[in-house]
């Protein structure tokens, strides 16, 4: 039967209307890839099943900041799970965030982190938190340095995935927090405005020197060059699969990676060494779920659903994730014996400090080849692959940080 032109033209708007009748999917941007992304998708599946609302998850990786700052409003997601706290307070991003209403109450320490100074509104809810002050080794090795100053690793015994800038910045944060907690508090105090002038104090140079000394001890020139090409996972393989190194400083989410490549019950960990009689450092990080303005109430509901505390006996994809390790939340203790203590520290310890580099915005903001990551990479290169004295390299690194903070 031939279709007349009129019928055809009449059909076009009908099709369009029919297409709009189905709900558009909720767009969620995350930074994970691989196994973590698959896990997250399983958590989201429960939402789709319960609320009959399609969800499309997109992994933006390190480009999430570009995505949220971008000029094209139509690609800004409805919900974002952000690993960098600083982004919430970015002058471009903050107006695009819909402050959180309803849902559960968050623990005070975590609530304060997502609340802008002088305002009562929370910008987001914590989905995943991490303990970044752990050092891992194989079981059977009973060795832990008493103090940072006495930590002089044999060349090759320490694995560092120096290709990933965040690994180096975690090292720096731990050493700085152990050596000079007052600097840390001065830069980002819990309640009032921080002061970037703290970068200029002498303790920063001293902490950097201490860090550079440990790094220089741990590598020959060749090993230093190799460490620069290794990522976080590669450094874990070195300790638990190839066994070419003995210790690796890594957050709690290293555990599933260790079990995947090394097997079960092969690892133990000890807290990152303290400095003298100061309290041991405890650097924490995490991912915040935020609803963006374009997402409407649905986005907020999704954030509250995603981050809600699970009841004691409840089981779902998220609790499985917590139980198998590699995922901590403020509301549930992990069942893995290795993770109980680190998880407890996250919710109780007095010496908790949020990851410094994740709070920086502007010229110091981290990323491959830029900001604090680049400064620390150059420091690492100078003292391990190069022959610069730790004190000289540390002074140069501090200069760069001060210059970046000033502009």
């Amino acid at each position: 039967m031939p279709i007349s032109r009129r019928v055809l033209l009449a059909a076009v708007p009908a099709v369009l209307v029919a297409g709009c009748a189905g709900q558009p999917p909720l767009r969620v941007a995350v930074v994970w890839s691989g196994e973590e992304l698959r896990r997250f998708l399983r958590v989201v599946d429960a939402y789709v099943a319960a609320f009959r609302r399609p969800v499309s998850v997109y992994s933006a990786g390190d480009n999430i900041s570009a995505l949220l700052r971008g000029p094209a409003e139509d690609v800004i997601p409805d919900v974002a799970v952000i690993p960098r706290l600083g982004l919430l307070f970015d002058p471009v991003v903050r107006p695009r965030i819909r402050p959180r209403t309803g849902g559960h109450a968050q623990p005070e320490f975590w609530r304060r982190l997502v609340t802008p100074r002088g305002s009562g509104e929370e910008l987001g809810a914590w989905f995943k938190i991490a303990n970044k002050s752990l050092v891992w080794q194989r079981t059977g090795e009973q060795w832990a340095p008493a103090s940072l100053t006495s930590w002089q690793p044999r060349p090759g015994s320490l694995a560092i995935g120096a290709a990933d800038g965040w690994v180096l910045s975690d090292w720096f944060e731990n050493v700085l927090l152990a050596y000079a907690p007052e600097v840390y508090d001065g830069l980002f105090p819990p309640a009032e405005r921080g002061n970037q002038a703290w970068w200029g104090v002498a303790q920063v140079t001293e902490a950097l020197t201490l860090l550079a000394t440990i790094w220089r001890e741990a590598f020959t020139h060749d090993q230093g060059r190799r460490a620069l090409t290794m990522q976080f996972h590669d450094s874990i393989l070195d300790v638990f699969s190839y066994r070419t190194a003995d210790v690796v400083a890594a957050p709690d989410f290293a555990l599933p990676v260790i079990e995947l490549y090394g097997g079960r019950d092969v690892a133990r960990h000890f807290p990152f060494p303290r400095h003298g009689d100061k309290p041991p450092p405890l650097v924490v990080g995490g991912d915040v779920a935020v609803a963006m303005r374009g997402g409407g109430q649905d986005a907020l509901d999704f954030v509250n659903w995603l981050t809600r505390p699970r009841a004691a006996g409840e089981r779902d994809a998220l609790t499985d994730w917590v139980d198998e390790g590699g995922f901590l939340t403020p509301y549930r203790a992990p069942s893995h014996p290795l993770l109980r203590a680190p998880a407890q520290a996250l919710s109780r310890a007095e010496n908790r400090h949020y990851d410094l580099s994740d709070r920086l915005i502007g010229r110091l903001e981290g990323g491959d080849g830029r900001g604090l990551w680049r400064v620390l990479t150059e420091l690492f290169t100078d003292v391990t692959a190069g022959t610069v004295a730790p004190a000289t390299a540390a002074a140069a690194a501090r200069e760069k940080i001060v210059e970046g903070a000033a502009r």
């Binding site: 691989g34 094209a72 190799r226 620069l228 290794m230 590669d234 699969s241 490549y261 080849g369 690492f380």
Partner: protein, 566 residues
Amino acid sequence: MSEQNAFLFEVAPHHDARVPVAGQGLSRWRAALYLLLAVLLSAGVILAPLLVTVLISFSRPGAWSDVLSDGQAWQAVGNTLIWWVLVVVVCAVGLGLAWLVRNAGPALGLVMRVILVLPAVVSPLTTGAIFRLLFDTSRERGMAAALLGRDTAFLGPGWIWLVLGLAFVWQYAGVAFLVFHEALNRLPSNLLRMARAFGVGRQRRLWSVVLPALAGPAALAYLFALVAAARVFDLVLMGVPGATQALVEGGGLYWWRHNDDLGDAGAAALAVLMSLLVAGLASLALLGLRGRVSWADPAPVAPPPAGRGRRLWPLGGAVAVLWLLPFAALLFTSLREPVAAARTGWWNGEPWTLGSYAEALSDSAFTGALGTTFLRAVAVVCVVLLASVPAAYVLAHEHLLPRRAWRPVLLVSVALAALPPQAFAVPLQRWLSPVGTPLALIIVHAALVMPLAVLVLHNAFVRVPAPMLARDRWELFHVVREARPAVVLAGVLAFVLVWNDAVVGLLLNWPSGDHLPLILLEQARHFMSAASPLAAQAVIATAVPVLVVAVTARRLYRGLTRGVRR
């Protein structure tokens, strides 16, 4: 006029040897309409934003001096020059290989052509992944380190340039080879024979006959590699560990990372600086393009001296093995069990599995991106052909401009083809964000590919003889029918460039998750532990353009070498 008497005229016969024109051809207005879409695309998407970028760079006094005094920015610009050296190396390798097999006979020539050109179809992102796998530091996983028998930091400072150089040569030397191979086959042999008979020395023959004959093709090969180098971006993002990226990134990548820090004016100044640099380097190609790029007619192929062709087979075999090895590495890695692939290199064999493929194809984000990217690429091909076919026809058949006016047009096309997208990204972002991402991406891609398409099509249309009797209204269709291979070439070029692009999506700050290479790029977060799934996705992503090229191979070759049927 004679010299003695100004009133005596001399009669000089003037021969008009042109085709008798019966019809008048297109009126000026009609002809201008033919150019409209192409001009709109180039002007709207490239030239106008470029102009705005220049204005922005002067909007803040001191922006230029800030950029010019920024050590890191200069390091990035210096790296761009190293990439330019690699461009020259690519051309040299192509020429060398073509010279070696110049009279190896048709069989070996065909084998070499196919194998060497294949990598050009692979996305730079995949190339980066392959070479990062081959040159991994650990001797357990990296093939090069395994051959040496010790862990070597190939991807660290210093060595990394060797790896990138090899990757770049592997990817683009084939195109240079193809162009030179054809040019050497068509050397004006009569002229050479004559010169020899008259006792012209070898050096003089090289200078006065061979070089001019190779200049055009060399310019083409150079331009193509330069465009690739000017947009080097994804190769570094995927192939270089994060800590080393700052050491090798060119100006384009530096701009992308730091445009927030530099401020609007500073970023614009850097983009203008980059454009000037690239335009300067691209203008070298004009030396070779002085005439029109066209081929001398093929000389009758003299049978190669017996034995010589056979002597070349081992050499051809060695080159083929070298060029196929990266493909093999990628394929074998994709077939291994993911945990084993993260721990050991592919030569350890077992356990083989198709698991990574199953996983990729069950991942809705990946399959969705496959579909969207395909549709996007097809849409771009349509827009590009719609814009460039009429434009090239009007230019080639002198409807609007006489032949001599082609030079400035050529110059503009070459400059546009080589411009780094950073030069116009910022204004574009602001203008196109209301259009909506899908449409905006298609428009931008089409505008970027179009100058190349016009160059290719113009080349072919010029060779189509105009019909003797009349320029009737169907002439355009006649020309397109005759120059079908060139149209196919332009279309495939557009398809492959869009399919493989990771730069435009990232640069325009629309990392819309539906473009395939961006999905692959995500795996670089944990490169070695994602080796097998990444390899599987890369194989699937590579299969599509390889298939397209395989199906159209014969026409592509004709399009590249002659441009017209028969």
